[in-house]
């Protein structure tokens, strides 16, 4: 993957930057050009809260090669108070304990290393509250 891609994705991956539709208020993460709900194309940048609730989840036992050393690991779709939904890993817990409704904090973490040179790719993972 060419390196400009990593620069381009810094706002969403590093800062959890989303966009709020000026037409209907829908929050999209990552930012989009056209609102999937109302079709408007005026947006205001907004940052997501760093906490969220699990909507649905799984535990990956057979992972892609890059994640071989991490399996088994939990993954979930979580929803922030702004209504944005993200697909993330849930870590620092028993993966089998992650359930719909589980509350998590979104923490900045290393996600993966890519390519022959092992480019470090960052983003957010969920850590159960409490």
């Amino acid at each position: 993957m060419p390196s400009p891609r990593y620069w381009r994705e810094i706002p969403s991956r590093y800062r959890l930057e989303a966009s709020r539709c000026c037409g209907c208020g829908k929050v999209c993460y990552p930012a989009r050009r056209v609102c999937p709900a109302c079709g408007a194309s005026d947006w205001k940048a907004t940052r997501l809260s760093h906490h969220a609730k699990v909507v649905t989840s799984t535990v990956i036992h057979v992972p892609p090669t890059e994640f071989l050393n991490e399996a088994p690991y939990a993954m979930a779709i979580v929803e922030t108070p702004e209504g944005a939904r993200l697909m993330i890993q849930i870590v620092d817990c028993d993966p089998d304990e992650v359930k719909p409704g589980t509350e998590v904090n979104l923490e900045f973490r290393l996600i993966r290393k890519e390519g022959l040179s092992g480019i470090l790719c960052y983003g957010h993972k969920g850590v159960p509250v409490g």
């Binding site: 990552p30 649905t56 535990v59 057979v62 690991y73 779709i77 996600i111």
Partner: protein, 382 residues
């Protein structure tokens, strides 16, 4: 639009076919279809293929396949919609003939998955790269999330999921072209290794090589090629949100519902008119969700419908009589065309031990990714 029919079909065995290359597979299936109709020329070819580029490093498949079929010169187009590539290729062939632009069109699908590529990673490229695959999700993982959402919402159980695998293997055991043509028990399914909780190995379709092809012509010319043509009564395609996180209800397949509605409308039939169906059971939960999205049963009833035998051979609406993706195999680009072939054979009374008695109307549903694309065809015995 002109009325359209399928007049011949060809299909390789599905499985780990080490001795056959991507082009061998295509040519074998295509030749069988052409020979079956004694057709000596084509006006167009549509090749459904998800990822020749990633699986074997080969792009630009349409001219390659036309060339190796001895048909260089014929207009040929590759069609890609992940695991729905085959069904979408059939739809393009249908539209080409229906429009009057072409008379003799080959709709084919082919995939060579067992040549050493990292299959999990290649398949994951049909998910959203930036928001899904980046974080380590796999396809079994996406469908596992759909399964958990369905379980949470409707009380669907692991036994319901297992019932899909048991049924489809029972059907597949009757199909000589199936990759895993043997029966499995509920216990074997429930004790197989975990892939992405709650989905186990025997909830997942296998990694397969294979090809399938059908010859599509105007209905008015069909009798030149066969005395038992099968009419394509309706075709519907649709898209949904690419990322699973963007779907309001992860347990509902919006694109399947939309594509089915369009196909039913074009065909002028209702779900209750169906006698047989092939649906996209890439994972056991998928068949449960698709059954609901096709309006064959009410929402939330997909699991108990399978367990009741409603969708088994001998039931009210047998589903996946071929063994489905689960038992027959799932060479992703070929699957949609292979589904159409099972319905073609059922409506012609050629399905052998799998034959559904007096089948007049059949449906094939093929989807891509975690359900972001779906295509439905409805067929009728002529």
């Amino acid at each position: 639009m002109r009325e359209v029919a399928i007049v011949a079909a060809g299909m390789t065995r599905f499985g780990e076919l080490w001795q056959l290359s991507l082009r061998d597979l295509f040519v074998e299936a295509a030749m069988e279809a052409l020979d079956g109709a004694k057709a000596d020329h084509l006006d167009a070819i549509y090749v459904g293929n998800m990822s020749g580029g990633q699986f074997v490093g080969q792009e630009h498949l349409a001219p390659l396949m036309a060339d190796h079929l001895g048909m260089a010169g014929v207009a040929a187009t590759r069609v890609e919609s992940a695991c729905a590539s085959g069904g979408m290729a059939l739809r393009q062939a249908f539209l080409d003939v229906a429009s009057g632009a072409s008379d003799m069109v080959l709709a084919a699908g082919v995939e060579k998955m067992n040549d050493g590529a990292d299959v999990t990673a290649v398949l994951a490229s049909a998910a959203d790269q930036e928001t899904e695959a980046y974080h380590g999700i796999t396809f079994p993982g996406l469908y596992a999330m759909i399964a958990r959402a369905h379980m949470e919402e409707f009380g669907t159980t692991e036994e319901d999921l297992a019932a899909v695998s048991v049924k489809n293997h029972k059907h597949g055991a009757l199909n000589p072209k199936a990759q895993f043509g043997r029966e499995v028990t509920t216990e074997e399914v429930m004790n197989s290794s975990m892939v992405a909780a709650p989905l186990r190995l025997l909830h997942c379709s296998p990694v397969s090589d294979g090809a399938a092809a059908v010859l599509v012509v105007p209905l008015e010319r069909a009798k030149e090629f066969t005395d038992r043509p099968v009419r394509i009564l309706g075709s519907g395609a649709a898209t949904g949100s690419m990322a699973l996180a963007d779907r309001q209800d992860p347990a509902f397949l919006d694109a399947v519902s939309l594509s089915a509605g369009r196909a039913y409308k074009m065909a002028g039939i209702r779900p209750g008119d169906l006698n047989v169906a092939e649906v996209h059971d890439c994972f056991s939960i998928a068949e449960i969700c698709v059954t609901e999205a096709l309006c064959v049963v009410d929402r939330g009833k997909g699991g108990e419908t399978v367990r009741s035998g409603y969708t088994s051979l001998g039931g009210k609406l047998p589903m996946n009589t071929s063994g489905g993706l689960k038992s027959k195999g799932h060479p992703v680009g070929a699957t949609g065309v292979a589904q159409a072939i099972e319905i073609f054979e059922q409506l012609r009374g050629e399905a052998g031990d799998r034959q559904v008695k007096d089948a007049h109307i059949g449906l094939a549903q093929n989807m891509g990714g975690s359900g972001a694309s779906s295509v439905v065809h409805i067929f009728q015995r002529v």
